[in-house]
């Protein structure tokens, strides 16, 4: 009866259930309270969209949200481009001078405390006499998020069967053509996942943005942060719910797109 040792025990089930509850309950509570008509958290005043209206009348919040979306979109795009190139260099470049420095620079920001990254970038911008605002935040976010893109793309690239590229070369491709016609289409899902990760990380960041932005160009997390420091405000619940919804939509679209593309491949078969 050796099979038994690998079966799920009640202890395992309890741990999983508690873990999932711990991860999801707080967010669900937040979402539910964003529809509370009452200002008080303890009192349920019935369903209402009042706090959502309040957000759409809050000029400063809207500006911050717009700024955040722009920064996230632009920095995620540049980061995806650079991160993919970096992954290609690391995985396919074999040994080259300065490789350890390169990979060190790419892995360190993944865990580097944000206060250090933020402070150091700010000091650079001050030294360069750069005007702080949209572009400085975008550059800062690009630097951080491209490392995440690199890791995501790198692991996909490393697991790719190299004989596919060899087959492409055998059939007449030079290395660049082989990469573009065979490798790239196969790592596109990882590149897309990298972009999404970069986008949400940028949309999320308070610390680095606080260091690198200038007066008058606060991002949404900076605004939320300064409001939260003063205490709970129902309007923040509404904003948070919308951000969660936005991210959920991005995730759903992404998973639908990947399902659709595999379904299309199946329907192409006559049998």
């Amino acid at each position: 009866m050796a099979r038994k040792v690998n079966r799920l025990s009640p202890f395992n089930v309890t741990a999983l259930a508690l873990g999932v509850a711990f991860l999801y309950l707080p967010i669900m509570i937040l979402v539910i309270y964003s529809f509370n008509a009452s200002r008080l958290v303890t009192v349920w005043g019935g369903w209402s969209l009042r706090w959502y209206q309040e957000f759409f009348n809050d000029r400063a919040m809207l500006d911050a949200a717009w700024m955040s979306l722009r920064v996230a979109a632009v920095s995620a795009t540049i980061a995806t481009l650079l991160g993919t190139l970096a992954a290609v260099g690391l995985v396919r470049g074999e040994r080259f001078r300065g490789r350890s420095l390169f990979s060190g620079m790419l892995y360190a920001p993944l865990v580097m405390p944000e206060v250090i990254s933020g402070l150091s970038l700010l000091l650079l911008f001050v030294a360069l006499n750069a005007e702080r605002g949209f572009w400085t935040v975008t550059i800062a976010h690009t630097t951080l998020t491209m490392c995440f893109v690199t890791v995501v793309v790198q692991s996909r690239l490393a697991s790719l069967d190299r004989s596919l590229e060899e087959a492409a070369m055998d059939l007449g491709c030079d290395p660049v053509q082989a990469f573009l016609s065979v490798t790239l289409p196969l790592i596109i899902p990882a590149i897309a996942a990298g972009w999404m990760l970069a986008f949400t990380l940028s949309l999320d960041d308070v610390v680095i943005a606080s260091f690198t932005t200038g007066p008058g160009s606060a991002t949404l997390p900076i605004r939320i942060y300064s409001e939260v420091r003063l205490g709970v405000k129902p309007e923040i619940n509404a904003i948070c719910t919308m951000v969660i919804a936005l991210i959920a939509v991005v995730i759903v679209i992404a998973s639908l797109a990947s399902k659709l593309s595999s379904a299309k491949a199946e329907s192409a078969a006559p049998l």
């Binding site: 038994k4 040792v5 690998n6 025990s9 202890f11 395992n12 741990a15 999983l16 873990g19 711990f22 991860l23 707080p26 967010i27 509570i29 937040l30 008080l40 958290v41 650079l82 970096a86 290609v88 260099g89 690391l90 396919r92 470049g93 074999e94 080259f96 300065g98 390169f102 990979s103 060190g104 620079m105 360190a108 865990v111 405390p113 206060v115 250090i116 402070l119 150091s120 650079l124 690009t142 630097t143 890791v151 490393a158 190299r162 070369m169 290395p175 990469f179 990760l197 949309l203 999320d204 308070v206 939320i224 939260v228 205490g231 709970v232 948070c240 951000v243 969660i244 991210i247 995730i251």
Partner: protein
């Protein structure tokens, strides 16, 4: 030469742009942190006296080296505020990592034992909260933990407490926030090693007379140590420098080093001291960072 080499040349050209980017926006900024940590505080904009000016060439640089001052570092060592915040950062990070391990391991272990189909779903369930904003997740806990929040309401209704408990601005709240935010970082590497383990190993252990407990401690746990190490580093390093969570959830009594740095920088406008604090924080993290770097390279570039 082999195909690997044929591909290597164009791949290296691809690395040039990201390489330059990282040198300019990651490496060079550290140079500035180092430089400013060695300069004098001034009440100006920017609030420091530059130690040297690149335009003046070597003579100026030589002169500048004479002016370099260790004052800021001397301040860090002598002032109790800094020493205690370093110490607190370390204690909080170690304690949090241990709690995360205790909570994360059973979850990862349970995930690895789920039927194959369910494992993918469980994996999604762990990753999704990581995609939702970090700040929002902290804010969600403020909702729950505040004076008239949900937790106190429930506790009062169940007559477990007679008066509302103060949760916010306590270390408990901070630990809850840290554990909540970093749990996926602990679970995923643990799950990765646990799910790769051959189930036949446990069967072999039980076949050879080990009880399930013995099998776990003698086989499963030792084999999962790489995952434990990865998860611990992935949590420990950023927690040491954590700013937002202690700032929003912990009391104002004692600060972590990230908070001290922030305070010096934004409130006291003492950039040189802030820079010196950053350098000291980095020194504190050099060993775990090097360990982490090796681990990353081994897992991502392994098998070469």
């Amino acid at each position: 030469m082999s195909t690997r080499r044929i591909f290597a040349q164009p791949a290296r050209y691809a690395a040039i742009a990201p390489y330059l980017w990282m040198v300019l926006f990651f490496l060079v900024p550290f140079g500035f942190v180092l430089k400013i940590s060695l300069s004098q505080t001034a009440i100006a904009q920017p609030p420091y006296v530059p130690v040297f000016d690149f335009a003046e060439g070597w003579a100026a640089i030589n002169a500048a080296f004479a002016q370099l001052s260790m004052d800021n570092f001397r301040l860090l060592v002598s002032d109790n505020l800094y020493l205690s915040s370093y110490l607190r950062s370390l204690i909080v990070a170690v304690a949090s990592t241990l709690i995360l391990l205790l909570i994360g391991y059973p979850i990862a272990y349970g995930m690895a034992r789920l039927p194959q189909r369910w494992q993918a779903i469980a994996m999604m369930l762990v990753i999704v909260p990581f995609w939702t904003s970090f700040l929002i997740r902290i804010y969600a806990w403020i909702n729950i933990l505040q004076h008239d929040g949900l937790l106190n309401t429930v506790l009062l209704a169940l007559h477990l407490v007679s008066a509302p408990v103060v949760w916010l601005s306590t270390d408990t709240a901070m630990y809850i926030g840290i554990v909540y935010s970093y749990l996926p970082f602990m679970i995923l590497p643990l799950y990765a090693t646990l799910s790769k383990m051959d189930p036949a190993l446990l069967e072999a252990a039980s076949d050879l007379g080990a009880s399930p407990q013995q099998a776990f401690w003698l086989v499963t746990f030792p084999l999962s140590l790489p995952g434990v190490g990865a998860g611990a580093l992935l949590c420990f390093i950023p927690i040491v420098g954590e700013f937002v969570i202690p700032d929003l959830l912990a009391g104002s009594g004692s600060m972590m080093i990230g908070q001290t740095l922030w305070l010096e920088f934004f409130t006291n406008k003492d950039w040189p001291v802030a820079a010196a604090a950053a350098v000291a924080l980095l020194v504190l993290l050099v060993l775990p960072l090097l360990l982490y770097d090796r681990l990353q390279r081994r897992t991502l570039e392994g098998g070469r």
